[in-house]
Symmetry: C3
Subunit: 362 residues, 3 copies
């Protein structure tokens, strides 16, 4: 009963918390989603807790995600097997289910407005390893975001987000500007994070940030200082502090009433080796009660991030056609390169521990 | 000149009559259809007889099904080769065709409102082996039906039809009802048929049967006795006697004016190892002159059967991902399990007879 | 850095001029196109010359065709690498590019209203080997055409065009007529060309030629003599002299005012082993100033040629399913058969010369 694709060579750490979905996705019915190669089904149990199981009915192999939830348990939509939240059948009309084989259940957490799943060994799952998101629990911040399915290796998205020079080219009409290219970029390791940052002084804000300045009650045509501080952490999170401040007030360190400051939030969850789920969003610390502004920002950000899709998917196709070609690793690529080093190190550590595919709990 | 996919391991008997199409499908032009792995083209010859040939012009390999019929012979739509009904070219502009290689011709029968084809050895084709359908030639019965293409192993459809507990879940809004789950099911071998049956007494009719009761001139809200008697016969036919009778009149054995009785007709023709043609319909012995009722039933049945499609196709995908996982064989699965035993036995018998892929007649 | 698919066994000559695109396709932005298995990007350099490069940015593998042209150089749309017209990076914001690996550049020519590319060894590319098209540079001729992408081996299209008996069947409503079948066909080698021709005397013109007669100022219902002279030349060009003349004036040799004479122009550029780019058109020597007639003919011809698509693509599928089946080679097939002999000979000659895949210029 080996998992479908979690072969040794999978290019992601298995023992980590990944964002699986948002609560609204399981509000009405079960959700089937493939994560790190595993087909999973998500629903809420009787106590409201989120449950993640293998999406496979042990009776005849139907996907449980085509069924429904009754009293907090999944009922298979084919012949009515009722699956308990631990992956053991609890009932089936006219049957004794005690001897039915179990299916895998995956450790799951709900926090910060997301559902997180641990695709690897259940006994290693530790809530303390969850990436902290203090802004998500603070009344001083507002958040809006969305989800894209992208047909490329999740690490190409990490590269993308850890090298924002692409904004000048891919997002020329919104957040790109010539000064990004011209500002020097520095990359360093800060604890378990790779941090790559860039500061631009005395510039005029590009369209997206003009909108944000207006939202923050500041003059959109002011001369500003702009910053981008990208932080990668395992398994595949990229938090980017971004913003503009009225010039001469300290930029990133300017007082709240002189800046529009945000965190671009990126959770990049592998689906297969050449596809991923991209949970994107923006957390901001200005005008947090302005729900209309949240919508405007979400719409603008969604449009901007959609501009990356074709490039990333075509890049993936080109790389598949040229598996042996070595790519350049320039200074601007250092953020992605060092992030991949952390990923590779985590995978190697799992393999050293003999983290073979987990047998089912049966 | 070996057939495309009829390798030894094909999971269907080759020497059997399968439903290929209905007469309306060849009324206007030739029909190309893949059956048991073989690409075939069907048309009517000069005498009105149905002809089944390999869908491959021996000149340049064009599909003959893209051509047209002239004087009962197929004319290739590319360069005009005329193909005789036995698979030998009879003419081509400016050419002598006597030496042209032949293509396969398949034994074919037209009866009971269907065209039947024998994909295996022509010399074994015996009209007497055709499954008898007495209702199809009786004035006391009316029939309506349709055709679906389904992307799953034809045996998953046999399983589906030989275990009607799925009605409670898949067809909750039409023919499903809780009492199906609760009624005991019995499965037995009756001659060459697998028979699995279930009887429900003193119940209220679900929506589809309310409609049928109305059509039969009976009160739709009456308390009824309901029956389901599924009969599998080789190669892959499932006839299901279904109906409801006013309670206490003998159920299945009740007199005609006390019941609405039908036969669900299922001809399941393999296309490839993971797809099939599903000819479904209903023959009824009440209100047989009511053509509007035939249409209403066909529409209702078509909608009901379409509800199985996603489940079956997703089940197939799950099984392809987990080829080594053993499924459960519960008492409710006995109908499908025993039907598959008949299928396996027939395939083994063909192999024992050395039923290797048939060479073309050239 | 071996080319993607140009393995030894590729079924096309590599050292030849193929039509790559028409100038309008690179008027506004770079064009990505796969030719003879190679992914190429086309644009105009600063002097207006056409440039063909490998469609792969050496920085991170993005397709250069997703970028833009600035001062005659391609700028990668991902991170702004500027690629010189010889395949060496010339600039990138904040980077020294001197050590960047080069990408392949392909010899390219613009002439006769087409862009031509040489997918093989650059040092063998010789403008003198370009197929001459005198009508394309003559004021006495007018030309209109189009482009189709067709999912079949380019040689099936050569076969198609070198055997016009298919017109009777595939194009029954426009240029087909019974007399094509009935007229004898002769095939011969004329220098480096395969020529297959057919003459029909005292016939009535089919619909397309009635339209052409009207366009030429001649009576559309006149009795005419019709000719078809197909000329294949390497690598995969088919020029077909076609026309109708008022009867008794010499047919093909009739004076200009007694005939409607054209050249069907076919450039057949392999994309992969089972797909090609089909540049079709018609050059005519009558009513050359009548632009509306050019449009009418283009529209008619486009419709006619679209009728071949399904047949060719389905033929390809049938042949892929039956790789070992030998096709017939009738007299009507001689044009295609002999054209393929020239192709095979050219491929063999390249292999004898050790024409291994070209290394990149790095």
């Amino acid at each position: 009963m080996a998992p479908e694709t979690a072969a040794k060579a999978a290019p992601w750490p298995r023992n980590a918390w990944y964002v699986a979905c948002t609560p609204d996705e399981i509000a009405d019915k079960p959700l089937g989603r493939r994560i790190c190669g595993e087909r999973m089904v998500f629903h809420r149990g009787k106590a409201g807790q989120v449950v993640a199981l293998e999406d496979f009915c042990p009776h005849r192999g139907a996907p449980l995600s085509l069924g429904f939830v009754r009293d907090g348990e999944l009922v298979c939509g084919y012949h009515g097997l009722t699956m308990g939240c631990e992956g053991r059948a609890t009932a089936m009309p006219g049957q004794r289910v005690a001897g039915f084989p179990a299916i895998r259940s995956f450790p799951v957490l709900e926090r910060y407005g997301f559902v997180w799943v641990w695709p690897g060994e259940a006994e290693l799952a530790d809530p303390a390893k969850l990436h902290p998101l203090p802004w998500a629990e603070s009344p001083d911040w507002a958040y809006g975001g969305g989800l894209y399915h992208i047909a490329c290796d999740y690490r190409l998205m990490v590269d993308n987000l850890m090298d924002l020079t692409h904004e000048t080219y891919v997002h020329a009409g919104s957040i790109g500007q010539k000064e990004i290219d011209e500002a020097p970029v520095t990359t360093r390791l800060d604890g378990d994070e790779v941090v790559t940052s860039r500061f631009m002084e005395k510039i005029s804000a590009p369209p997206f940030w003009r909108m944000a300045l207006r939202g923050a009650g500041l003059p959109e045509d002011a001369v500003v200082d702009r910053w981008q501080i990208c932080r990668f952490s395992l398994p595949s999170h990229v938090m980017i502090e971004v913003g503009v401040a009225l010039e001469g007030h300290g930029g990133h360190a300017a007082p709240p009433d002189k800046k529009a400051a945000s965190v671009v939030v990126d959770f990049i969850t592998p689906e297969t080796e050449t596809s991923h789920w991209y949970f994107w969003g923006m957390a901001r610390s200005f005008a947090v009660a302005d729900a209309a502004l949240t919508d405007t920002i979400r719409e603008g950000q969604g449009k901007i991030f959609s501009e990356d899709l074709e490039m990333l998917e075509q890049q993936q196709q080109n790389l598949l056609r040229h598996p042996d070609r070595r790519l350049l690793k320039l200074n601007i690529d250092a953020g992605g390169v060092r992030s991949r080093m952390l990923i590779d190190k985590a995978i190697a550590a799992e393999q050293a521990l003999g983290a073979a595919p987990v047998p089912a709990q049966a």
